[in-house]
Amino acid sequence: MSTKDLKSGQNELFVSPDGDEARAFFREKSRAPEPKLSSVGEAVRTLLDDGDYIAIGGFGANRIPTAIVHEIVRQGKKNLGFAGHTSTHDFQILVAGECFDRCDIAYIIGLEARGLSPAARRYMQSGRIRVTEWTNAALAWRLKAAAMGLSFIPARTMLGTDTFVYSAAKEILCPFTGQKYAALPALFPDFAAIHVHEADVYGNCRVQGVTISDQDLARASKKVVITTERIVPADSIRARPKETFIPFWCVDAVIEVPYGSYPGNMPYEYFSDEEHLRRWLEVEKNPEEYERFIKEQIFDTESFNDYLNLNGGIENMSRLRAKELMIDKV
């Protein structure tokens, strides 16, 4: 196989994969262990600009930083690029705000076993959004390449398919074996928000359960906002250094947001609110009802606690906690 027969995906690469450009940014990023407590409003206002490329941690409706995603909509951020990686409810919220105009797609529109979002589908069928196709592993590895400080990483995925044709990957050959690979360009998001179980004020974070791609997302992203169920003392981090999942130097802001993944699932804390998620899918069918719902749920709630209270408050949270811990049927 000659190198001149190698194919390239024809779609747009939204973020520069250049390792030296990223290094120049990271060189200036503070690595001093200083307190980074912030608020949802301040973090989104100061760390996210219109036009930035963003990524959301967790897995769509599992361990997601809902408060930050709401705030992005509330502050009317526009023309964002979005990493549609394991995105479900987070995608749905951003669509409600029409926040992004370009999207790397691995998984969008759907909410897994719950069905598809009519509003997200309309948005993505409108022709207004610039799109590039990838896969879950491809986006995971693009983040990993960035976290490693590389501009690309090889993978044996996407080859031979239209997913490759409509991607921005390029075929390359292994210099040792001649094996064909898809070269995946590193993805350095401008901004990422990740919800965790515990963090100290410096941004050292711990999570429970599966980590999805957050270990790499936190390292690949230029600016990182952490929402956490609980702030813990730094001594607690030092007592179990092996469990530090995200080290402080990745993090720009830390915000305590109890029940912060609601209506999503938070492992060992509370299950997803399936009724609430069903309501979204229902109201999206009717544009007027949808507008009212978004206004009520996002624009008219001043704080995340307001939003929780609107949706059953502590009582509902306790119910979801019982469901998560499987003590609801005892």
Binding site: N11, G58, F59, G60, A61, N62, G84, T86, I105, A106, Y107, I108, I109, G110, E112, A113, R114, L116, R121, M124, Q125, S126, G127, I129, V131, E133, W134, T135, N136, A137, A138, A140, W141, A155, R156, T157, M158, L159, G160, T161, D162, T163, Y166, E171, Q179, K180, Y181, A182, G209, V210, T211, I212, S213, Q215, D216, N265, P267, F271, S272, E324
Partner: protein, 256 residues
């Protein structure tokens, strides 16, 4: 003979494909049910994995998401998405389950869109998710799907996940790992495999109540036929009992 519906049939048939001691990545719904049923019948030591990182959980209920708490409930490992995908890429995962809106004679799958304009499709679907990855990297792909001429189509609107691509050796020439590919398509009407040379879809077995003619009429391309065509063994009373009482007692998937 016990009474059963098409989804119950497909789950029972698919569960029998999974041998003891194998590894399988599943999604939500019927594939997860098939893997759970296999564990409770012929494949006690089947290792179930989810792409978000859950490995060998003791599933307390059907997951709603491949990343929810249930996918790593009392699991042997709660890992990460790259870890699961890299385990597939390294050749340690035997089976995966895939579905889609369209399927062609080489087992290629479309889960991206209907239409011709990529940016403005007639109908947009979720896209690959992990499907292309699993189809590329696991040894054997299994699909469970209702069969009709729209779904089983001559030409996909979009080739999301690789089957045998254009047949023959094209899958491996594209760079995909040797020895991998679509293995079984389990429909409401029949069980298909693939011809070793041409890599075209070949009917191996016809389900109770269906004829060869019906199977072909509900397929948008020409099917090959095994020389010795089997009759699909219907779900046993015991399989149905376990499926209904233990695997999906709430009937979320089997609809009972």
């Amino acid at each position: 003979m016990p009474d059963y519906n098409p989804i119950e049939l497909m789950i029972c048939v698919a569960s029998r494909i999974l041998e003891d001691g194998a590894t399988v990545v599943v999604g939500t719904g019927a594939p997860c049910a098939a893997a759970m049923l296999a564990q409770k019948t012929s494949a006690e030591n089947l290792c179930i994995m989810f792409e978000a990182g859950g490995v060998a959980p003791k599933l307390p209920a059907m997951p709603i998401s491949v990343g929810d708490s249930r996918t790593f409930h009392k699991a042997l490992h709660a890992g990460s998405m790259p870890e699961v995908m890299e385990t597939c890429q390294r050749g340690m995962v035997d089976y995966c389950f895939l579905g889609g809106a369209q399927l062609d004679m080489y087992g290629n799958i479309n889960s991206t869109l209907i239409g011709t304009d990529h940016r403005k499709p007639k109908v947009r679907f979720p896209g690959s998710g992990g499907a292309n990855d699993l189809a590329s990297l696991c040894w054997r792909i299994i699909s469970m799907t209702t069969q009709d001429t729209k779904r089983f189509t001559e030409k996909l609107d979009f080739l999301t996940s690789p089957g045998y691509l254009s047949g023959g050796e094209s899958r491996y020439e594209a760079g995909l790992p040797k020895g991998t590919g679509p293995y079984r398509i389990v429909t409401n009407m029949a069980i298909m495999g693939f011809d070793q040379e041409s890599k075209r879809m070949k009917v191996l077995s016809i389900n109770p109540g269906y004829s060869r003619k019906q199977v072909q009429e509900n397929c948008g391309f020409e099917l090959l036929w095994a020389e010795k065509l089997d009759d699909t063994t219907p779900p046993s009373t015991e399989e149905l009992r376990i499926l209904r009482e233990e695997v999906d007692p709430d009937g979320y998937i089997i609809g009972r």
